[in-house]
């Protein structure tokens, strides 16, 4: 996995989030404050700008640049959360960037998100998509699966995790104020996390 692939990941993520911006905002309108699609769209656009300007020399630099940009440029909760994911990944990513190195960095990134948001699996947050994706990557490494197949499995696990948030009652964020009324809606953070994992699978294929 090379630097160009990581840049392509964010380009594809920006494209998928833009294409699904209105769906993400609709999901957020149901249980949040209806800004997730626009916030993430703007944040990823800023990431692409930052990557073009700084021309990062390594995989880790792509991730830390993306993370720092999301933290600085997104005014909603997704900024610090996704920002921490990528910044932490960039901080710990080992070279050469094998699937095992990527899976290890991703796992630590997800832990950073869980710590910052104090969220766990089942709270109806982006963790419900990110943690299954991380597990899928770890299993793929264990089983010696190829990069492309492993990233496909991670994207599928994220998607299944996101769909699993529909019957959950939110325990974090604005949606948690809605109590039982948060049941029956897919979590917008889990939905956008699925797009981000799908983006990586798309560019690796």
């Amino acid at each position: 996995m090379e630097t160009a692939l990581f840049v392509a990941w964010f380009e594809e993520a920006a494209r998928l989030v833009r294409a699904d911006r209105d769906r993400l905002t609709r999901l957020d309108a149901a249980i949040g404050d209806a800004d997730h699609g626009t916030n993430l769209d703007r944040g990823l656009t800023e990431v692409l700008k930052a990557l073009a300007e700084s021309a990062p020399a390594s995989e880790a630099e792509v991730l830390t640049t993306a993370g720092a940009t999301l933290i600085r440029r997104v005014g909603g909760a997704s900024g610090p959360l996704y920002g921490s994911l990528f910044r932490q990944m960039g901080k710990v990513l080992q070279t050469p960037v094998t699937l095992a190195a990527f899976a290890g960095a991703f796992e630590e990134g997800v832990v950073a998100v869980e710590r910052l948001g104090k969220a766990a699996l089942g709270d109806k947050t982006m963790v419900d998509a990110l943690a299954p994706a991380s597990r899928a990557l770890a299993l793929a490494v264990r089983d010696g699966v190829g990069v492309r197949e492993a990233l496909d499995q991670a994207a599928r696990a994220a998607g299944e995790g996101s769909k699993a948030t529909i019957p959950m009652q939110a325990r974090k964020g604005r949606a948690s104020y809605l109590g039982e009324r948060s049941i029956g809606h897919e979590d917008p953070g889990a939905a956008s996390a699925t797009l981000i994992m799908t983006a990586l699978a798309n560019v690796a294929g």
Binding site: D35, G75, G76, P80, G117, R174
Partner: protein, 124 residues
């Protein structure tokens, strides 16, 4: 003196809460507001919060009091062990308690404790 930074999704709310806290604690209490996004919308800006932290930092540490959601998450990214701490307290009551304690010149741990007492303080 310990600095106090009030972080709200709303610039107006942060500014008025800071004015209220200073009004009660005394003008020499270092209290700064960091509300809203840089373009004036509802949300949080890490740059605005960082600038506010620097603005009230007199070397004795800074307590950040966020309202909720992204304010909390962004504030926590700026925590520095024993130097910059985030208080898990009600926004207005915590701000006033922290400002009064900071204005009295007590150390960081005591300002944080004063703010945290606001969580259980009964009004009736």
């Amino acid at each position: 003196m310990v600095g106090v930074v009030l972080v709200s999704h709303s610039a107006g709310l942060a500014i008025e809460a800071a004015a209220l806290a200073r009004g009660i604690a005394g003008e020499n209490a270092p209290v700064a507001a960091a509300g809203g996004t840089e373009d004036g919308g509802l949300g949080t800006s890490v740059d605005l919060i960082e600038a506010a932290v620097r603005g009230v930092d007199r070397g004795a540490g800074v307590v950040i009091i966020p309202d909720l959601g992204s304010s909390v998450l962004t504030a926590r990214l700026l925590e520095e062990d024993g130097r910059v701490v985030v208080a898990d307290v009600p926004f207005v009551e915590g701000a006033i308690a922290a400002a009064v304690a900071a204005g009295a010149g007590v150390p960081l741990a005591d300002v944080l404790e004063a703010a945290e007492e606001a969580r259980t303080f009964r009004k009736l």
